[in-house]
Amino acid sequence: MKPLFATSLSLVSALGRGTAPAFEALRAGRGGLRRNDFLDSTLDTWIGRVEGIEADAAGDQSGKFSDYRMQRIAQAGLVADDFSEAVAHARDRHGAKRIGVFLGTSSAGMLQGELAYRTRRPGPGALPEGLVFRDSFNMYAPAAFVRAQLGLQGPAAVVSTACSSGAKVFASAARAIEAGLCDAAVVGGVETLCFTTLHGFTSLELLSREPCRPCDPERGGISLGEGAAYVLLEKKDAAGNGLALLGYGESADAHHMSTPHPEGLGAALAMRAALGRAGLAPADIGYINLHGTGTRNNDAAEDAGVFSVVGSAVPCSATKGYTGHTLGAAGAIEAVLTLLCLREGYLPGTLNARSVDPVIRSQILLEGRSASLEHALSNSFGFGGNNCSLVFGRSN
């Protein structure tokens, strides 16, 4: 594929607001997880929540959108790194109708719906007035909000394929640009902590009771997180740093709804397709940002897939120990972290992993280190056996 330049990046997560604090945390090996203190939840787990979001001002000034936690997190991402201003300049270059919006989420504003059900009136059981379906339960909610705040009028959609959502939007945007539907796109992901995912992963016995430890022999599951990340993709390198999306690969496992294929067959298909579109060989990849959730099955299956494609020569790490697993935003958050690592020449360590599970054969980085980096790959896999791999690098 033709490279698409990442001309602006933005990130809000448990690591703070903006790409700078996130990268500093990676470099310092300092995570953002805390013991669960999400609203009135009493589950014994650790979470990566966006600090202070409850005290933020409403992001929407038009009065057309509800002011729920999801909209606040989406807005925090637009403010961070002056992303809105970068998009405004792009709007001047391309025109509002020529910039698309493709966002991933897995739960949109579900939290607001959960809270509304707690206050259902007796009798017919009606929900409280003022709960807006479009801004809460509906998966399109983040794209509706972000498109309006940025004043964009190009094509728009939400991809909701569980934990691969925030990666697959890069593929959708690349196709829309290639087909001529738009000249640039805002891609990203928005995810809010909610009780459905906290209790859902608990019911599947996949929630860790300590900060998640991807690839560690003692790993006990995931730590949930929330956040937003955006990338502005353009055909020309308006930022002048050469950072670009070079390839994407998508596949399905055809195996099980909530367990990955044990040999990582679908994962390997996605990685090979991404390398193929980038015109790169496995040996060209200098770093892999793993999906690396910290569950027993994911990390073993992903390793089998990674090992089958690149062997043990490529340094790999998981960054969910820093941010938590942000589900539908994870692909976008990790794309931004991968781009930061490319820009700064840094390979992050796998936070909280004390040693590498002997069943894992890929080269797992426990400690971060500086390294010159030309190409990197980021993996995202979701429920339903849905896989996406992205290749980023420098392009001239």
Partner: protein, 267 residues
């Protein structure tokens, strides 16, 4: 944008059991008979999965299976784009009701079935396809968003793509927030190439050229179909299917505010 070819179609709704019946109804060759929403059992699902699979999954797999059947395309080579406005609002209601209880209740099966891409996951598993799979939402324009993604994927990747759109009425109390009252699903199998010389893509074989256009869509709702079906986002598909049934024409599908998809349909 490069054209794509419709190589298969599937339809399911009240009084619309399949594509062939729907075509006859849209042509006026058969009378439309309203009836209750169907309760489909897709052939793709093994017997032991039929009760476990969610209702949206059963609707999606039924129309997807119909579009693919007899098309000559094998599912393992066909990418899928599923699209739905509300997804599985019955599960949404069950999850929220359970979480409002003290202590909160949660079922693991219900949780994994709650992801927006659960029906697409069932398709991959039971059609044994590792081809790319996406699931979209575009609120009221979910069908348009799905058609744009599927056609773009077919044209750019030169890959056959199965588009499946479905939306089912929500249970109370969600119905008050999202007042869709009739169920509907449709599937379009899009090929990047015309059929080989001397062959056809069956009764729905048509060339589709899709573009983005300004202003609201002007395609009229088929007069013989119940007006309340028109509020189902998936029923946008009927504007395309109307033109397909009539051997060609222009379908306009409402997209985002003040914009529409203009679909030029020709043999």
């Amino acid at each position: 944008m490069k054209p794509v070819w419709l190589a298969g179609a599937g339809v399911l709704g009240p009084g619309l059991p399949d594509w062939n019946t729907t075509r006859d109804v849209l042509l006026g060759a058969a009378a439309y008979t309203d009836g209750p929403d169907p309760n489909p059992v897709p052939a793709l699902l093994p017997a032991n999965e039929r009760r476990r699979a969610s209702v949206p999954a059963r609707w999606a797999l039924t129309v997807g299976g119909e579009a693919l059947a007899g098309s000559g395309f094998e599912p393992e080579n066909v990418a899928i784009v599923f699209t739905s406005c509300a997804g599985d609002s019955t599960i949404t209601h069950q999850l929220c009701s359970g979480l409002a209880a003290q202590p909160p209740e949660m079922s693991p099966t219900r949780f994994h079935n709650s992801v927006h891409n659960a029906p697409a996951g069932y398709w991959s598993i039971f059609a044994r396809s590792r081809a790319p799979s996406s699931t979209l939402c575009g609120f009221d324009a979910s069908f348009s968003a799905g058609l744009l993604e599927a056609a773009t994927q077919a044209a750019v990747e030169q890959l056959p793509v199965l588009l499946v759109a479905y939306d089912l009425p929500a249970p109370d109390p969600l119905r008050a927030l999202w007042p869709v009252s009739r169920a509907f699903a449709a599937a379009l199998l899009l090929s990047p190439a015309p059929p080989p010389a001397g062959e056809t893509y069956g009764t729905c074989g048509m060339r589709l050229e899709i573009g983005l256009a300004d202003g609201d869509a002007r395609s009229a709702w088929p007069a013989m179909l119940p007006p309340d079906l028109s509020t189902n986002p998936a029923a946008q598909a009927l504007a395309v299917l109307w033109a397909v049934a009539h051997g060609g024409g222009r379908a306009e599908l409402q997209y985002l505010r003040n914009s529409h998809l203009a679909v030029e349909i020709s043999p």
